[in-house]
Symmetry: C3
Subunit: 471 residues, 3 copies
Amino acid sequence: MTELMLHPDRLLPSETSTREIARRLYNEVKDLPIISPHGHTDPEWFANNEPFGDAAELLIRPDHYVFRMLYSQGIALESLGVPTTDGTPVETDPRKIWRTFANNYWLFRGTPSRMWLDYVFKVVFGLNKVLTKDTAEEYFDTITDSLQKPEFYPRALFEKYRIETLATTESPLDDLRHHKKIRESGWQGNVITAYRPDPVVDPEFEGFVENIEELGSLTGEDTATWAGYLAALRNRREYFKSMGATSTDHGHPTAITADLTLADCKALYSKALTGHCSAAEAEIFRGQMLTEMAAMSIEDGLVMQIHPGSFRNHNPQVFAKFGRDKGADIPSQTEYVNALKPLLDKFGNDTRLSIILFTLDETVYSRELAPLAGHYPTLKLGPSWWFHDSPEGMRRFREQITETAGFYNTVGFNDDTRAFLSIPARHDVARRMDCGFLAQLVAEHRIREDEARDVALDLSYNLVKRAYKLD
Amino acid sequence: MTELMLHPDRLLPSETSTREIARRLYNEVKDLPIISPHGHTDPEWFANNEPFGDAAELLIRPDHYVFRMLYSQGIALESLGVPTTDGTPVETDPRKIWRTFANNYWLFRGTPSRMWLDYVFKVVFGLNKVLTKDTAEEYFDTITDSLQKPEFYPRALFEKYRIETLATTESPLDDLRHHKKIRESGWQGNVITAYRPDPVVDPEFEGFVENIEELGSLTGEDTATWAGYLAALRNRREYFKSMGATSTDHGHPTAITADLTLADCKALYSKALTGHCSAAEAEIFRGQMLTEMAAMSIEDGLVMQIHPGSFRNHNPQVFAKFGRDKGADIPSQTEYVNALKPLLDKFGNDTRLSIILFTLDETVYSRELAPLAGHYPTLKLGPSWWFHDSPEGMRRFREQITETAGFYNTVGFNDDTRAFLSIPARHDVARRMDCGFLAQLVAEHRIREDEARDVALDLSYNLVKRAYKLD
Amino acid sequence: MTELMLHPDRLLPSETSTREIARRLYNEVKDLPIISPHGHTDPEWFANNEPFGDAAELLIRPDHYVFRMLYSQGIALESLGVPTTDGTPVETDPRKIWRTFANNYWLFRGTPSRMWLDYVFKVVFGLNKVLTKDTAEEYFDTITDSLQKPEFYPRALFEKYRIETLATTESPLDDLRHHKKIRESGWQGNVITAYRPDPVVDPEFEGFVENIEELGSLTGEDTATWAGYLAALRNRREYFKSMGATSTDHGHPTAITADLTLADCKALYSKALTGHCSAAEAEIFRGQMLTEMAAMSIEDGLVMQIHPGSFRNHNPQVFAKFGRDKGADIPSQTEYVNALKPLLDKFGNDTRLSIILFTLDETVYSRELAPLAGHYPTLKLGPSWWFHDSPEGMRRFREQITETAGFYNTVGFNDDTRAFLSIPARHDVARRMDCGFLAQLVAEHRIREDEARDVALDLSYNLVKRAYKLD
């Protein structure tokens, strides 16, 4: 059985002199605290601090990176215990699920999932052999047993991971009870929320009309009117701020923004409330709501994040049987230069506003995003995202962004994960790749090493703190 | 005169430690048999086993990679002996054609053609000086003389090249007489066909209406009806299977698929038979036929290949004078996420179906193809194609595909060539580049070397065998 | 205070053996004269040969690369002395402007501006410490004092820089008085003009209708008619040729070309003269004018340059206050395969015509531009442009172009700058990057070193001379 190694130089450049520079830079940043300003962990974990379940429940069932790859190779989601929405029975024996995963772990060669998982296996659970079908049982037992120990409870891991701030993401309809419980518990871990209004600003979101009604009840505003609707959204932003939120997040199919007249806003909102918007109307409404959110951000200071370009639930059979977030979201081409113009025309020069842009379409890095962020004071660029949260993805991001936008129009790393255990692994990959990129610049005498060290610290810690107003 | 060298380390990474890993990997795969499951060689060569003609006829006149470059620099196609369709006389002296080529061989610096040709010159013909105007005569004589020797006959080269399987590509209207002759000859070379129905499924194909009639005669089916048409296509698929075919191939302008009602299919087919489809109707018809072909593949097990995105015959003057395939096909932007949805909605989760996707638009690697193939069990990705069948093209393919789709949603290499002599050169380039890519992963401690060796064997041999059902 | 170093190996590959090859190649080209066939320097400098102003006036106020980055970080353009068009007062103290710049110079880490500026500081002004707030005063004084000395006058720098030819860019309405004065002065510096007809061929250009009238007066042609208009354009081309022009330049929003009937041309031109073209009509008119310009180029031999794809003045607030060219031009997606077809259908095979294509959309390098230039004898590719005139931009250009188009369908480097002092720095970056790229090919045994040396000379000097007919 082969030893599981995490080589100290992993992901650093292989050329000797460059690697030495990279090592020196990495040593400066590897132990910095983690700031995770955008992600999808469950606040209930930290509110209740109960042990995570077994190996399969923790590491396979909720990780769409993992089961999408297995599914692509013909392994049924049912056999991985992915719960169905239509009542079809699925595998319930976690050990059998784990075996299926272990037998196919070689499929992940060359993927970031493999690096994140190996990190968790080795650093968190102390496993010393590589995962294969021969070590499947040992892995399952070690992980499952460990999880029952207090030092593997959510809060203990949070502290062990030296997480300075962790943001979750909630709908305006969420009562934030878990965040409240955390705050009242006396525990010092800084878990904050972020305001994700998709369910109440997207007319195509499931249950939109009912969501708006609920928003009205929750806030006491008359959401049957445009003014009341905006007041309700503002009201929830205030509440989220009181629970630590420093940002909003917007997951739209495109980056389209709009700047309609008040009359048009009212008319379109009325239409949306009937539940009968056309696709084009829904698109404009979402676009208008980005501009409205920007206006509110100027008032209340919340940083806007825009995450456009995912074709959600591309596979209708999988959606019908298993629901959302089952690895069937596919990126599509995303345009920013025209799409953002209505919002930018209005607020693009207002230094009170800060918008962080993300993309799943790498072709816009050098063509659109770097030029936009290299000009507009309101715009910053989020790190390479989702499918591109990977070594090569990070390399392309820096290579294609830096020359036009510099380092200081980017905002450091965020992990965007629901896989809590992998958070340090993901930040470690980012720090290594950034140090490798900087080392290359130093080795080619494009910046000095003392500057590279400053930049490495900024990319790993300072920029994210500033960009998300966590300082 | 400069020596012609094929350096043993060519294309391997230049950094010492990485190159050593790459050498070890390459040594494991360099002598594996060649499987060439997709290409455009002429089966007549192997049926009749007659000597190839002279140097110009073999290496220049049929190679659009070669004469497109010369043409781009103002060298007339006539002077290269490219036959005209309008009767304009062209150069007929092969030696003069060869001289024109030799005098301009420096234009190919940095191109894959240069690497393929040098390989053929050195390995096949034993030439030891580089090709320049000073060695043009020696080259012409050596190559032309050699071709007359039995060891340079098609079957002998096939065996010398250790080709395990070679697929050609034929229209359903082809009677496959050459394949029949090969089979009946007792020769052991495994030359199979592939089913390329473009002439009978594309209403814009030259002679479509007549082709359909011919399809009817050939099969005894009533191709005046939709049902008879499908039966005829099915019939020819069976015949192709009996001649070794394991795959179909589809060269559409876009990746669009459709899933029309039966009534709409019938109506659209009737319209197509009149020869008066609009461009939009032709597009939908082709799209529908991809879905029909997928349905037939589920029945008969033929693997589907989709090669979209070439703007054929972009240069009307060249087309008018010289016809198709004269280096004037230009890639264009190609969308997959929406285009494939009708087909995928219907069959995307059916593990009996296997579709291999290709592209000429590299922007879709990380944005569309890797995410699609990393989810749908029916989808696999073909290697970097045509203009991208090159060292840098292969590097970009692996760098942009692997992290999301892994290695095992790709299908190894295929050469797609009509230049038979270059087949080993092309496979050698692919093996070197894959080993170099893997060596980089090993050097950066992203996979272990023992894994890289397994992957190298898979990419060079095992995957293609499995993907094309040649095992 | 840190020493300002320009490392002799800067931008060369860091791997030892590759760097040694690169050094040898670079040594062959580093001292070649500079040919700058496309740029935006002011001919008045060389006509009058008066000293440049102070450090801020020379290096900050006119350089949109510099102030766009500062602006993106919230620094007001007013504080940088950028003149307003609406009368808002701006900072006038050059020393204060310089301090603002110096305090923020770290923002340029990793950008080409930083490399160009450091080169100017060190090589031109002999500065030995890096620019920070601590050295701001010393920098300002040294630069401003130097500029008063004769050896820093425009003509002296031109000679010191060993510029063999420098092209500026003028409107057909320009009387070229400065070029005339240069020619009459007896000074030997070869400063030529280039014909940029945007103001008289783009119906959306500010003052188009008046421009056409002025064109009529200037040439004595009746520009109220289509024939007279073409004659007037032809007339000015002749005049520009007499002042050294060898090329035209076209800065259109897209690459669209058209080939209308004469009747449609006349009708569309009449409409344009009313000043009421729709956006679509203006687009077609510009497209038609590209085809007309190609026809004239076949007559008079001027090389055409097409620079499409910039969304000019994207920021209306900045435009209203500061006017054009203030760092708010943003690239957008640009299509060539269909857009150029009307022009290419007509003239694409005419070897008397030479068109040099540029792009701000890197996705077209491998997909569209290299295949087009690798086929059409009329087409060549300009170097990586504007935002992509950078080390990584150049690397991507060569990596994505060369395998399909070779080196000889490219035209060497041009700087496209209005920042005269940075010209040698920019050419030096290009020579280093090209030598590095070639060294990599040599190190991987893809070309021989003797060939790489020839190519390096071609890319640095010979190709540009031939492509712009300067030989």
